[in-house]
């Protein structure tokens, strides 16, 4: 711990600290058995732009939540603006001058731009508040995005996604009583076009010169390379590298993000991959290149999370010929009031009909069968589905889709939270089912799983950016097309 150093050193570290706005030492954060942050050391200096990159699930969001006061660390020490201790709540974060632009926007759609500005400034009240709020946000918009054409009186619901993001960003830079000292931008350019994105990057340069710090979290590597002073790379809950931006280029960042270890245990060899001949599906996401699937193929959908893969699958889904394995279990998959068995049989009711009524014995027998095949760890398939761990719930959802008679199975990144052994079992099952003639469309964010596929389409911004054949599936090719 720096604070326990000898007096002489304290002198110099004190001087150091005067510049460090945020200092994380050995910060860890666990959610149950999952370690989201695993001993993070990180500083954000006053007046610098720190870039933060990493794969989905590397721990970036957790880090942000610690800074905004939404979460408290499990262990380790953090220090903000010279004051030790964690940020207690959003109000405390605000008082410290920490502002955050969240990836999912936090504007009220039923309010106007000016009214949304008022929400974050308790001081905007009394006579004439709305004119003051309007001129405040308009000035901020004018500064960050010159020529923006957004009116302060416009209802947010009437704005395009790009305009909403512009408002949200500009709002973070407005000042009434407490000036922003650290602005966190989480994927700020995900809905901005090229020109507004470069306006934002230019503005980041201006505010950092005035002494305000910016934490720029993004998948757009060229942005951090261009605007960040230093770049921190996260992987598996750790900061695996934190260097001045100048020493990096795209490739070195990608190498760091993937942990530097190139997979020795490539699960399948290119020679094992095969392509089918009879086409069962052809779909064109967002007017780009078409996606074609043949019978018996396992088609991978790659790319960064949130680039339209899930939406593509949901739009594609049609009950007659397809079954879906949800990745977002809570939103798309699990029926929380039902037992494990009921959650499985919902995909194949017709099988269990006897004289128009569902036969409970047949339902139960099928559930037992799937318990064995999927190795679902439950004492009784009649137990509620929520009594299972996330991974085992996911197995039940797999069983639901495989139990159906659908010829095409859509999978929406379904392996999140599934342990390694189960994954291997499921991979094998997918192979066997594909060999028997089923077709799989498999969206995944994990490189290992793309290796399991026969062919891969890489998505970016809702479009297919690359179609990789059996012998072209490599991490480099996928990452190149993703960024």
């Amino acid at each position: 711990m720096p604070s326990s150093c000898v007096p002489l050193a304290t002198e110099s570290s004190h001087a150091d600290r005067a510049h460090s706005l945020v200092r994380f030492t050995e910060i860890a954060k666990s959610f149950g058995p999952v370690r989201a942050l695993d001993g993070v050391d990180l500083t954000i200096e006053a007046g610098e732009c720190l870039g933060l990159v990493g794969h989905n699930g590397a721990g970036k969001s957790t880090l942000i939540n610690l800074l905004t006061g939404a979460l408290a660390p499990t262990s380790g020490s953090m220090e903000v603006a010279g004051a030790p201790g964690s940020v207690h709540d959003p109000r405390a974060a605000r008082a410290l001058g920490i502002r955050c632009v969240f990836q999912e926007l936090s504007l009220c759609p039923n309010l106007t731009v000016a009214e949304n500005t008022r929400l974050v400034h308790p001081g905007l009240r009394g006579w004439n508040w709305s004119r003051r709020a309007a001129s405040l946000i308009e000035a901020a918009l004018d500064t960050v995005f010159p020529g923006h054409r957004i009116r302060a009186g416009a209802t947010v619901a009437s704005l395009s996604l790009t305009e909403r993001q512009m408002v949200e960003i500009a709002r973070a830079f407005t000042t009434t009583d407490i000036a922003p000292r650290l602005v966190i931008l989480d994927e700020p350019t995900s809905s901005l076009d090229a020109s507004t994105a470069s306006q934002l990057l230019a503005h980041i340069g201006r505010v950092t010169q005035r002494g305000c710090s910016v934490l720029l979290v993004t998948h757009m590597l060229h942005e951090v390379l261009e605007s960040a002073d230093r770049i921190a790379v996260m992987s598996d809950g750790r900061v695996v590298g934190c260097d001045p931006a100048g020493v990096h280029d795209r490739d070195s960042l990608v190498a760091l993000m993937s942990g530097g270890t190139h997979r020795a245990s490539v699960a399948r060899l290119a020679a094992d991959r095969r392509t089918g001949s009879s086409q069962v599906l052809r779909a064109t996401p967002k007017g780009g290149e078409p996606l074609v699937a043949n019978q018996g193929e396992v088609i991978g959908l790659g790319g960064l999370a949130g680039h339209g893969q899930t939406e593509f699958l949901v739009d594609l889904f049609s009950a007659r010929t397809m079954a879906m394995v949800a990745g977002d279990r809570k939103r798309d998959g699990v029926f929380p009031l039902w037992s494990i068995g009921e959650n499985i049989s919902v995909g194949a009711y017709r099988k269990h009909l006897r004289h128009g009524l569902l036969n409970l014995a047949s339902e139960e027998a099928s559930a037992e069968e799937w318990r064995g095949r999927m190795k679902i760890r439950a004492p009784d398939m009649g137990n509620p589905i929520l009594s299972l761990s996330g991974g085992n719930q996911q197995k039940a959802l797999f069983a639901r889709a495989l139990d159906s008679d659908a010829g095409i199975i859509l999978m929406d990144d379904p392996m999140r939270g599934v342990d390694v052994q189960t994954k291997q079992d499921v991979y094998a099952m997918i192979r066997a089912q594909a060999a028997a003639g089923r077709t799989f469309l498999w969206y995944t964010t994990e490189m290992d799983e793309l290796y399991e596929c026969d062919r891969v389409y890489v998505f970016r911004e809702g479009r297919i950016m690359a179609a990789l054949g059996p012998d072209e599936i490599t991490e480099e090719r996928v990452l190149q097309a993703s960024f």
Binding site: F317, D332, L357
Partner: protein, 314 residues
């Protein structure tokens, strides 16, 4: 033994039955005698709550926002049409019942059309429909009270051995609804929609068709109630359904059906219907006035939902 008790406590309907029994005993003790009579009366009046409650329950099970406010006017319309077609003769009973049921189904389908085709929120859709249905009922009824056919009037009021025959109809309907909910694709789909509409669609279920059928079912059950109620009370009056607006929701909620959708409790509807009726008669016996009875009924509803809400939050 204790395992069985724990199972009983966990059932959504057990509380409403326990409450009904307590109230029944208090009423019986307070009155000194006539516990059997109180039960007969409770079954006779509870029947109507149960029948409309079943329809409301299935609609509520579709998930938040789904509710049928057209039940009172459907009761009136079906009662009026049924009595008109029967015209007091025993020979008209079958066509009368069929006409009433058809009217109920038509109201239900109209509701569903407003909700799913015109995308009007169910609360206002069924409310607006009920205004129109009410006017149609007034128009058809024309201010004349048509007496029910003698056979039907006898059936609706007879209670051999203290067991009202109409209650048997309600019992049969409850069993049927329970079976449909638990053992048919329709019933499972209703529950799935109520738990997670998006997941239900992605599981390949016929989400829209089932939701429409659910509103139609509620209309048909209201119609059954309308015919029975008109026969019970010597003719269809236009305001005979009024009290079933709020009480149909109350029996559903007190009976343990989840207001958030997905979990129906047909047995609980019985418990709640008996409980509400017996509560009123107990307070009557104890000498409380109408005002106190209402206040206590209201507090019970709020108490039940507060307890149930806590269970969900946990």
């Amino acid at each position: 033994m204790s395992a069985r008790l724990r199972w009983l406590v966990r059932q959504p309907w057990s509380w409403s039955f326990a409450a009904a029994i307590v109230v029944w005993l208090v009423a019986a003790v307070a009155a000194g005698q006539g516990a059997g009579g109180a039960l007969t009366a409770a079954l006779a009046f509870g029947t109507f709550y149960v029948i409309v409650g079943l329809g409301q329950m299935v609609v509520v099970t579709l998930g938040p926002g789904n509710v049928d406010l057209s039940i009172p006017s459907t009761i009136a319309l079906a009662g009026v049409i049924g009595m008109k077609v029967m015209d007091g003769s025993n020979g008209g009973i079958v066509p009368g019942i069929l006409a009433a049921l058809a009217a109920g189904a038509a109201v239900g389908l109209a509701n569903a059309g407003l909700v799913f085709l015109l995308r009007i929120p169910p609360i206002v859709a069924t409310l607006s429909a009920s205004f129109i249905v009410q006017s149609i009922a007034i128009e058809i009824g024309g201010g004349l009270l048509v007496k029910p056919p003698p056979a039907l009037a006898w059936f609706a009021t007879a209670a051999p051995l203290g067991l009202p025959l109409a209650a048997l109809v309600a019992l049969a309907l409850s069993l049927l609804v329970s079976l449909v909910l638990a053992r048919t694709i329709f019933g499972r789909t209703v529950s799935a929609i109520g738990q997670n509409r998006r997941a239900a669609r992605l599981a390949g279920l016929q989400v829209n068709l089932v939701a429409v059928a659910t509103y139609a079912l509620s209309g048909v059950l209201s119609a059954v109630c309308g015919v029975l109620l008109a026969s019970f009370s010597g003719g269809a009056s236009l305001d005979m359904g009024v009290e079933y607006l709020l009480s149909s929701i109350a029996v559903v909620v007190i009976g343990g059906t989840s207001v958030n959708g997905g979990r129906a409790s047909p047995a609980g509807v019985w418990g709640a219907a008996l409980f509400l009726f017996l509560l009123v008669s107990m307070l009557n016996t104890l000498g409380f006035g109408a005002g106190t009875r209402m206040v206590l009924t209201g507090l019970v509803i709020i108490g039940v939902i507060t307890a149930a809400g806590g269970e969900r939050a946990a």
